[in-house]
């Protein structure tokens, strides 16, 4: 009985955490992390698992030589951050992001995507 109760309690906690999704982890991105896209995207879109504070969240995109290819200030709506891109020739690009979630914790990360074959 005690084991059953403990497992039930644990399950409740699991369900709560699953529903809340509080971490500002990168949930998915377009272009996808590590992907190769045949044509140049017009923007990079980052979806996080928690709403963001726009004033303290940012993203930049650079080409292989380290030159910025994004259009500057991102647009942020709830948990999604977008930044426009200049016309991209084939090559590899790195996206670096830092975000502040609404509970004042920061997370950061980076990934690459490739344009062309």
């Amino acid at each position: 009985m005690r084991i059953l109760t403990f497992m039930t309690s644990t399950l409740l906690i699991v369900m709560a955490a699953t529903a809340a999704e509080a971490h500002a982890f990168l949930d998915h991105a377009e272009p996808r992390v590590g992907s190769t896209v045949p044509t140049a995207p017009r923007e990079v879109s980052l979806s996080f698992t928690q709403n963001l504070e726009p004033a303290f969240s940012s993203v930049e995109v650079k080409d292989a030589s380290g030159t910025r290819v994004d259009l500057g200030k991102p647009s942020i709506s709830a948990s999604v951050m977008r930044v426009g891109l200049k016309p991209l020739p084939p090559g590899t690009y790195r996206v670096r992001w830092q975000v502040l979630s609404v509970d004042t914790h920061t997370t950061e990360g980076s990934f690459t995507f490739r344009v062309g074959q």
Binding site: T8, S9, L12, A16, T18, A22, Q98, G109
Partner: protein, 319 residues
């Protein structure tokens, strides 16, 4: 419904409600998240709680005895870089003939200071002092001693995300480790007429982060459950190095392959415990842990350092 059942459900409900508030995880070093490991320690000071850690194994006795260990520990940051952990373990040993011995080990306190967090290189270093307070457990049952143990310990964690992109999936690996030198406050145990050795207490983990793989290297579009997994192998060892007259200098310990599922407010870990030699136990044991991130669950109260606030305060982000 028993009082125990009501208490368990009340606690679960409390955590359920608490987890609807916004929060975030704790042991981040740059883009790397180090989970709390089960038999060694992670390289961060944090507000967290293991409730409980449960282990089953068979002792090295002939015939082997069945051993259950139940542990609880609670960690609290005093300042941003200094934290204290209190721990208590309870053990039950059932001999092959049915004889049962059980009791508490000594109360343990760990003081830790965060020396370094290098975001760029995903490197964390922590210094600590573990104190097992003598005569605070069941000395009569043999699970506690009437002398204390002091163990200065160095901890580290290193992620491989700073390797060149050509290393690809390998960059999701990370290692953590700890090395401590355990010194007893007495050199001789008069009740058992044996010397009390000074020991090297050390361990390490090799872990592969599926969350890191998905967000930093390649999104394989796996089912979400797999993106929360961190397969891990832990190693924990003890070697007598001094004041061990008349006893063998045999290293004992276990190799623990397993997996940790990392959620938003807690993690669940499960590992097999494989003794490295006959002196370390018999057969394969198992250890499981439910670990709560208090700084995620209660970011504005329990999850804050007692003094000095948190570096997580809003700041303009720059690259």
């Amino acid at each position: 419904m028993s009082r125990y059942t009501m208490l368990s459900l009340a606690l679960a409900s409390f955590f359920t409600l608490a987890s609807t508030s916004d929060a975030l995880a704790h042991c981040f070093v740059g883009a790397r998240f180090f989970p709390a490991t089960l038999v060694t320690d992670d390289p961060c000071v944090a507000d967290e709680m293991s409730l409980p850690t449960v282990a089953w194994s068979q002792t090295a006795d002939v015939p082997p005895a069945s051993q259950w260990d139940l542990g609880i520990d609670f960690s609290k940051r005093i300042t941003e870089n200094f934290g204290v952990t209190i721990s208590q373990d309870w053990t039950q040993i059932r001999q092959a003939n049915g004889t049962v011995t059980q009791g508490f080990s000594n109360f343990e306190t760990t003081f830790q200071y965060q020396i370094l967090k290098d975001r760029e290189h995903e490197l964390a270093i922590l210094a600590g002092l573990i104190v097992d307070w003598g005569h605070t457990g069941s000395t009569a049952s043999g699970f506690a001693t009437d002398y204390s143990l002091l163990t200065p310990t160095l901890y580290f964690g290193k992620g491989f995300g700073d390797l060149p992109s050509s290393f690809s999936w390998f960059r999701a690996f990370a290692v953590t480790g700890q090395v401590g030198y355990q010194v007893p406050t007495n050199s001789f145990d008069f009740t058992q007429s044996v010397f009390i050795p000074q020991q090297l207490v050390y361990g390490a983990s090799l872990q592969y982060s599926m969350p890191y793989l998905k967000s930093e290297i390649i999104d394989l579009q796996l089912p979400d459950f797999f993106n929360h997994l961190i397969p891990i192998v832990e190693l924990t060892l003890t070697t007598p190095v001094a004041n061990n007259f008349g006893n063998p200098y045999t290293t004992t310990g276990t190799v623990n392959p397993g997996v940790i599922w990392v959620g938003s407010y807690f993690q669940v870990g499960l590992e097999a415990m494989i003794p490295i030699n006959r002196e370390s136990g018999t057969g394969v044991g198992v250890i499981g842990q439910l670990h709560l991130y208090l700084d995620d669950m209660f970011p504005t109260t329990v999850g804050q350092p007692l003094f000095g606030g948190s570096s997580a305060a809003p700041r303009k982000l720059t690259f």
